[in-house]
């Protein structure tokens, strides 16, 4: 329970912290939470399902308050809680870090996300799912670019309407079960037709958050107007909730519809890979390039999830971790460029590598991980997903494989135009210590996952074996 309540406690504590120490308090808070999480990880054995909160009480409409974690739940919690300090650290030198409201919102977000990963009850899952929307909305509203209001409305209404699809599915389930606990929901036997609609409802919510191809239109705009920290939260962390939700909730609740939905969703994912990849190649705005790159990467992950076998799913979790690390790194680089040059146009940049060699090096490390170069975290996960897509159907595998080509083109283009070429700018401040530290930590993660991916695979493996047996 302390795992869940610690972020809330620190968020409330920030109200009494003097303004001078706010940014420090934020980082210390997230580090303490990370420590608590590590404590849980050490005592955890991957075969178990640990119950965190089980009050044995049910509300009138079947909310049971059950919380707990298995391997994948705890993996997402540790990933999230490890990345929050890095995000705060990378923004340490910006004015946003001094804002009480920003730090408080980040911690509330951490609270909601932890709750989401721990939830063992459908309603509770939905509650935390929607709760994450409030802090990110406020961060974007208070610290976003001036032209944010329309885009923000679009983002909020879009994701809210998507969530209503999930709500509708839960309502449809309410007649079939006595309560909403995870076990009861899994025990429901559905006829294929209603399973199809229930899965579609869940998919609408997750597809918009991820975002999967036709539902992505909010994403590039929102990423662009968001402050750097907001973009990191959205791209590296919030989207994980949806991917996790697909594995743990969407498919296990309505496995009867898996075969029907498989082709549809995999196609959408693959279309997203190609479509976003092509668009990313043509973009001039560096944040938009990475936004489309993100759509392209998660399209592949979505396709991997729908294969729903143990190997593909383990690769999916590896790729989730990789995507989070890379997204933070890339958007940090984009943020640094935007911050120091006051422009996001890559044609206006150039020659920065000469002036700021440290930045160029660490940016390159992240860029290589984004391209899935061997010995970075992207390689193993992408390779395994592609292999499984090939064995699903070779055409699908072939189209999905284009991600490697597109990834190389758009990443290298963005890197080359901004870092090399004729110098177009006279001065560029090299990395500050906190940015350097953030890049370093991310790179350590990238390399460890690239060399020894087994650390993740062992952790999530047993739970995934259990889950993939459900269908």
């Amino acid at each position: 329970m302390e795992l869940l309540l610690a972020p809330l406690f620190f968020a409330l504590l920030l109200a009494v912290v003097p303004k001078k120490f706010v940014r420090l308090a934020g980082i210390v808070g997230t580090l303490v939470i990370l420590g608590i999480t590590i404590g849980h990880v050490i005592t955890f054995s991957p075969n178990n399902v640990v119950s965190v909160f089980n009050p044995n009480a049910t509300t009138k409409f079947g909310l049971t308050f059950k919380m707990g974690y298995d391997g994948i739940g705890l993996f997402m919690v540790i990933l999230t809680n490890a990345l929050f300090p890095v995000i705060l650290l990378s923004n340490f030198n910006r004015s946003i870090a001094h804002e009480k409201s920003f730090n408080a919102m980040v911690l509330i977000m951490q609270f909601a996300m932890t709750g989401l990963f721990l939830a063992m009850d459908g309603i509770l899952f939905y509650v935390f799912w929607e709760m994450t929307l409030i802090p990110i909305f406020l961060i974007l509203l208070w610290f976003g670019a001036p032209e944010r209001k329309t885009i923000l409305t679009k983002f909020f209404v879009y994701t809210f309407v998507g969530s209503l699809g999930m709500l509708l599915s839960l309502m449809a389930l309410s007649g079939l079960t006595k309560d909403f606990s995870y076990e009861s929901l899994l025990a429901i036997k559905l006829v294929p037709k209603s399973a199809f609609w229930i899965m579609s409802g869940f998919f609408l919510a997750f597809a918009i958050k991820i975002p999967v191809f036709p539902f992505h239109t909010w994403q590039p705009d929102t990423y662009t107007v968001a402050p750097v920290a907001g973009t990191m939260l959205l791209s590296a962390l919030m989207l994980n909730m949806a991917l996790f939700g697909m594995v743990k909730w969407m498919i296990p609740i309505a496995p009867e519809a898996l075969n029907e939905m498989k082709f549809l969703i995999i196609s959408l994912g693959i279309i997203g890979v190609v479509y976003a990849g092509v668009i990313a190649i043509k973009q001039q705005d560096i944040k938009r390039i990475f936004a489309y790159a993100s759509i392209s990467h998660v399209g592949l992950i979505t396709a991997g999830i729908l294969l729903f076998n143990t190997e593909a799913l383990s690769a999916v979790f590896l790729q989730i971790a990789n995507h989070s690390l890379v997204a933070i790194g890339l958007f940090l680089a984009a943020g640094i460029l935007e911050n120091r040059l006051n422009t996001r146009d890559i044609n206006a940049m150039g020659g920065i590598a000469k002036i700021a060699p440290k930045f160029a090096f660490w940016f390159a490390v992240t860029a290589f991980a984004s391209m899935a170069v061997p010995f970075t975290s992207g390689f193993v996960g992408e390779f395994l997903i592609l292999k499984n897509l090939f064995s699903y159907h070779w055409v699908v595998g072939l189209i999905a494989g284009s991600t490697l080509v597109f990834g190389a083109i758009y990443t290298l283009r963005a890197y080359q135009l901004s870092m090399y070429g004729a110098p177009k700018i006279s001065s560029f401040e090299d990395l500050k210590w906190n940015e350097l530290a953030a890049f370093f930590l991310l790179s350590v993660g990238i390399v460890i996952l690239g060399i020894y991916p087994q650390i993740v695979l062992d952790f999530v493996g047993p739970s995934l074996v259990k889950i993939s047996k459900i269908r």
């Binding site: 509300t59 009138k60 909310l63 208070w142 209001k149 409305t153 309407v161």
Partner: protein, 453 residues
């Protein structure tokens, strides 16, 4: 019954105390009276009741007690939250507060009625003081217009109701709810006489809860009335109107389901769309609230439509969250005290006054059904219990929630965003009483969804 008498006596005493021209005394009396009444109401929850007067025309069932407590609580919150308005004209404070208390007496009658007489009496006792209160801002033309409009349309709907009751009496030969129910279920009363009567009663009830197409009065009346009265109408009158509707149509006329459910189905859909689509683009805060309250009437009526066993409890939960949101928002508008009531005057107040901003966020997101606020759970309960029988209706309601979030969000963005010139944004100073109201509302909204019964 005893609570009802206490509230009535408190109202009387308030009128006498008002002669001292000290508004605070009136307030204290009203507060004490209402707290005693709430206490008496709660004491009846226990079995056997600790202390009870009884009268055959009124019967407080368990769910009736829950609704009564809520109605008294909202009256209490409106009185102490709106005190800064009531005390402005010292010579009228007593009248305002006692009129609200008398109206609360009517509310209790309308919750506990067992025959059509008490229903009609309750409706009138509830409405007549409010006709007066709506016009209490005498120097304001809009207020006078609102009062007249409300009185005329309300009077007309009362006429329709009476006519309907007469037809039902003609068909069944009884004013008692039990008697009516019995003669409907044994089939002796069925015929066009009864059908017309029921539909007339339904029309009058729909008028009271401001459902389309009987909603045209509500935006003008909400906008014209003093803020506190708007809050009372939206929170209390809607609450008891809904409960009376539920009681009449799921219990008494439940067997005639096939007659009225089709009509109600269509009107619910109409109400939701009319409310939500008209709310988009409103520029006055209270008009926005009026249209949103029309939309919420539509959602709440789904509880009556569903005809499930727990729908009274679902409705209670729904009106609970709705009432707290309304009371909180109205209290904030009383604190802001903007004559023009324009949307633009709310710009930035949430950012400059963080506590107010927090409450605005809670109550509007609760209205938009964003968890963990109580509004979400109310909606979830109402909708999910209706899903089995009327899936299309629920899907339409969900689509409407999607439309609704748009205008709530525009308001939240306006209220919470940073303004370029912060000095133009007023620094609000709620009184201690208003702080109490806001804190109670916040607690209600945050914990309301998690009742374990």
């Amino acid at each position: 019954m005893d609570a009802l008498i206490v509230v009535f006596l408190t109202g009387l005493i308030c009128m006498f105390i008002a002669m001292a021209k000290k508004p605070v005394y009136v307030l204290i009396t009203a507060v004490i009276g209402l707290l005693i009444a709430i206490g008496l109401m709660v004491s009846q929850w226990f079995n056997p009741p600790l202390f009870q007067l009884s009268y055959e025309g009124l019967e407080f069932t368990k769910i009736g007690i829950l609704f009564s407590v809520l109605a008294l609580l909202f009256t209490f919150l409106i009185i102490i939250g709106g005190f800064s308005y009531f005390k402005k004209e010292v010579e009228h404070t007593g009248e305002y507060i006692s009129l609200l208390l008398f109206s609360a007496v009517g509310a209790l009658c309308m919750i506990a009625f067992t025959d059509m007489f008490m229903f009609f009496l309750g409706l009138e006792i509830l409405s007549i003081p409010i006709y007066v209160m709506v016009g209490s801002n005498k120097k304001d033309l809009l207020s006078a217009e609102a009062s007249l409009k409300y009185f005329f349309t309300g009077g007309f709907s009362t006429g329709v109701l009476l006519f309907g009751i007469a037809w039902v009496y003609g068909a069944t030969g009884s004013f008692q709810l039990d008697g009516i129910k019995a003669s409907i279920s044994d089939g002796t009363a069925r015929g066009s006489l009864l059908s017309i009567g029921i539909l007339m009663i339904m029309a009058a009830s729909l008028f009271k809860v401001s459902a389309a197409p009987f909603h045209f009065w509500s935006p003008d009346v909400y906008q014209g009335s003093p803020n506190a009265v708007t809050g009372y109408m939206a929170a209390v009158i809607k609450l008891v109107g809904m409960f009376a509707f539920l009681k009449l149509f799921t219990i008494t006329f439940g067997d005639m389901h096939s007659l009225w459910s089709g009509a109600l189905y269509g009107l619910i859909v109409l109400t939701m769309f009319v409310g939500n689509l008209s709310a988009i683009g409103q520029t006055k805060f209270k008009r926005l609230m009026a249209y949103s309250s029309i939309a919420h009437a539509g959602y709440a009526l789904i509880a009556i439509m569903s005809q499930e066993t727990g729908s009274d409890w679902n409705l209670w939960n729904y009106m609970f969250s709705y009432g707290f949101s309304i009371v909180a928002l109205i209290t904030i508008s009383i604190v802001l005290d903007d004559k023009e009531d324009n949307f633009s005057s709310y710009k930035g107040i949430g950012r400059k006054n963080p506590f107010i901003g927090f409450i605005i966020l809670l109550s509007l997101f609760s209205l938009a059904a964003l968890p963990p606020m109580a509004g979400f759970f109310g909606k979830f309960m109402v909708f999910s219990s209706a899903f089995n029988n009327h899936p299309i209706l629920v899907i339409l309601a969900i689509i409407n929630s999607g439309i609704g979030v748009y205008y709530y969000l525009t308001f939240v963005i306006a209220a919470l965003s940073k303004q370029e010139d912060e000095s133009l944004v007023p620094l609000l100073k709620p009184s201690i009483l208003q702080y109490i109201v806001l804190v109670i509302c916040a607690i209600g909204l945050l914990t309301g969804g998690f009742f374990v019964v």
